[in-house]
């Protein structure tokens, strides 16, 4: 568990320190596609921007999106799971069919359509729809749209088990309301698997963000993202192949760290339960 945690902490700390080291958007056309040097430890990209600073900016964006979307998805999924598991009946059936459908669909092709939507046609004011940061918000929304299902299933399962446990019945017989029972008695029991699922879902969100950005549908310039950096690097791949290696390696390291962390947490929780 220490390994992935240290790795994640290092990546996050470096990404957060980025703004103090220099401007990632500073263009130097005289110094394009340069190799590693003292001024640019990882070289420069096709516009002469410092590769290391760009990587760190991409890290800030990827991690922010990953954490925000995973947290929002966990919150929404928890609410759905609690309601579905506690109420049961047709509410439960409809919600769970929806979960099954979302899980089974070919998500990437559908997300490409959603990512390409023209927001102004949905009635979003043009000034807002073409703002710089809108790509961030859009990706978080898309990731939540498909990510809530994991938490919903987990929490529903745990709620079904907890609903008929003696301490919940006792609370009910003492006159506790439904919201009180859900939040105070059932939620604490599902926290452990929820933390595991959220850690794994950060990894999924980062992968999703990177592939959408790579396809040109995610984070838009001037913001840097590991995915869009790779798509730029593709065009200069014969002149500077290393530019195509760094961002991918960063995605890989971050995602595998999140996955290993989730796995380690799960083992720890299981051991405690035994």
């Amino acid at each position: 568990m220490k390994g992935p945690l240290v790795l994640l902490a290092l990546i996050a700390a470096a990404a957060l320190a980025g703004p103090f080291l220099g401007d990632p958007s500073a263009v130097d056309l005289a110094d394009r596609l340069a190799g590693p040097s003292l001024a640019h430890p990882l070289g420069t990209d096709e516009l002469g921007r410092d590769m290391l600073l760009r990587l760190l900016e991409g890290g800030r964006i990827s991690l922010a999106i990953g954490v925000a979307a995973a947290a929002a998805a966990a919150a929404i999924g928890t609410a759905v799971g609690l309601v579905s598991g506690y109420l049961g009946g047709w509410v439960d059936r409809i919600l769970m069919r929806l979960v099954d459908a979302v899980i089974a669909l070919p998500l990437l092709p559908l997300l490409i359509v959603l990512a390409a939507l023209d927001l102004t046609k949905l009635g979003v004011p043009p000034r807002l729809a073409h703002a710089d940061g809108i790509g961030l918000v859009r990706i978080v929304c898309l990731a939540v749209l498909i990510g809530w299902t994991t938490a919903a299933r987990l929490v529903r399962g745990a709620t079904l088990i907890a609903r008929n446990r003696d301490f919940v019945r006792a609370a009910r017989s003492l006159g506790a309301g439904v919201p009180h029972i859900l939040v105070r008695h059932i939620l604490p029991n599902v926290l452990a698997p929820l933390v595991v699922a959220t850690s794994l879902s950060v990894a999924d969100v980062i992968l999703l963000e990177s592939v959408l950005s790579f396809l040109g549908l995610g984070i838009q310039p001037p913001l840097a993202s590991w995915g869009s950096m790779l798509s730029n690097a593709q065009e200069t791949i014969s002149a500077a192949p290393l530019l195509a290696v760094y961002p991918g390696a960063m995605i890989f390291l971050t995602v595998i760290a999140c996955n290993l962390l989730g796995d380690a947490l799960q083992r720890r929780f299981e051991r405690r339960r035994v």
Partner: protein, 313 residues
């Protein structure tokens, strides 16, 4: 069993109908519209011409009416005309569907065979060095961005060593095979990690069961115990997870095909969406959904066939 299959087929049809309406509505929200595209192609066109064209194509009618028109034509086999390929949608779609099925089918078989070998070997010696290596490999597999893997493979085997073509499809059987190597390798590596984890977990559980001890006690060989008794019960949970993995396979194929310029359904959907080819995007997305749903259905049937306790009557 027949009843179950019939119910499932009706469900699949219902989901497809719902999806077609949803996608139809979404496609209308994409940037640009067909009349604008014509206007930009022909500067002499006036606003009155545009309005007349809109009425001609029925674009001024409400969404549901337009959808009903599309649906009746589609059910009659007319999916419209593709702007991008300048041929009927069905003619553009079918050969690419076959290409995609070849890519996905061979990757699935390869990945599943690899996962069986690795997962079973790891589960037989939990905690061993081999187990830990397999576990790390599986985690690396699920954490690799597919497009980056493709990029690196192109960089090494096509641009660097020059052993394999970087993209496209070749002519003749040998040519096609050579062009399939890198895409299939990419998609296989992208899915083998997840499958391996399922197989390993299911095998560990299966090997701990009482009937395994019984089989060993009555003198069955170790190979028979592992590959027949344990794998037999482990395949049941594996089949349920595989049933849910076809959507991921279709998604992975989209990225792989786009990276290797492989003319499959995924690349077609991406090109159609980016190129404002509404008819083609709509039909392609529906076809991808249908392929996924039928894949799930097939896995469910396999599940019933593998596990004698499951009956869908």
């Amino acid at each position: 069993m027949t009843r179950y299959a019939a119910i499932r087929l009706v469900e699949i049809a219902a989901v497809l109908a719902l999806m077609s309406l949803a996608i139809y509505a979404l496609i209308g929200l994409m940037p640009g519209d067909p009349i604008d595209l014509m206007r930009s192609a022909d500067p002499r066109m006036t606003a009155a011409d545009a309005a007349r064209l809109k009425a001609l194509y029925g674009l001024d009618r409400p969404l549901l009416l337009r959808y009903a028109g599309w649906a009746t034509a589609a059910l009659g086999g007319d999916l419209g005309y593709s702007r991008l390929f300048a041929e009927p949608v069905a003619a553009a779609l079918l050969p690419r569907l076959v290409n995609s099925l070849v890519l996905m089918g061979s990757s699935f078989v390869l990945a599943f065979a690899l996962a069986l070998g690795l997962g079973v070997a790891a589960a037989r010696r939990p905690g061993s060095r081999l187990d830990r290596a397999v576990n790390l490999f599986a985690f690396a597999g699920v954490s690799l961005p597919t497009f980056w893997l493709a990029l690196i493979l192109i960089l090494v085997f096509a641009a660097g060593l020059g052993w394999l073509p970087a993209g496209g499809v070749g002519a003749g059987f040998a040519g096609r095979l050579v062009h399939l190597v890198l895409p299939v390798a990419t998609l296989t590596l992208a899915s083998v990690g997840g499958y391996t984890r399922y197989v390993r977990a299911a095998m560990r559980e299966a090997l701990a069961q009482d009937h395994i001890r019984t089989a060993r006690a009555k003198g069955a060989s170790e190979a028979r115990v592992v590959w027949r008794h344990a794998l037999g019960s482990a395949l049941v949970p594996v089949a349920t997870v595989l049933a849910l993995s076809f959507g991921g396979l279709v998604s992975g194929a989209l990225v792989t095909e786009t990276m290797f310029a492989y003319p499959g359904m995924g690349k077609l959907i991406f090109d159609a969406v980016m190129g404002n080819d509404y008819n083609l995007a709509l039909a392609g997305l529906l076809l991808a959904t249908a392929v996924t749903l039928f894949g799930n259905f097939a896995a469910d049937l396999a599940y019933a066939w593998l596990d004698p306790r499951v009956s869908y009557s």
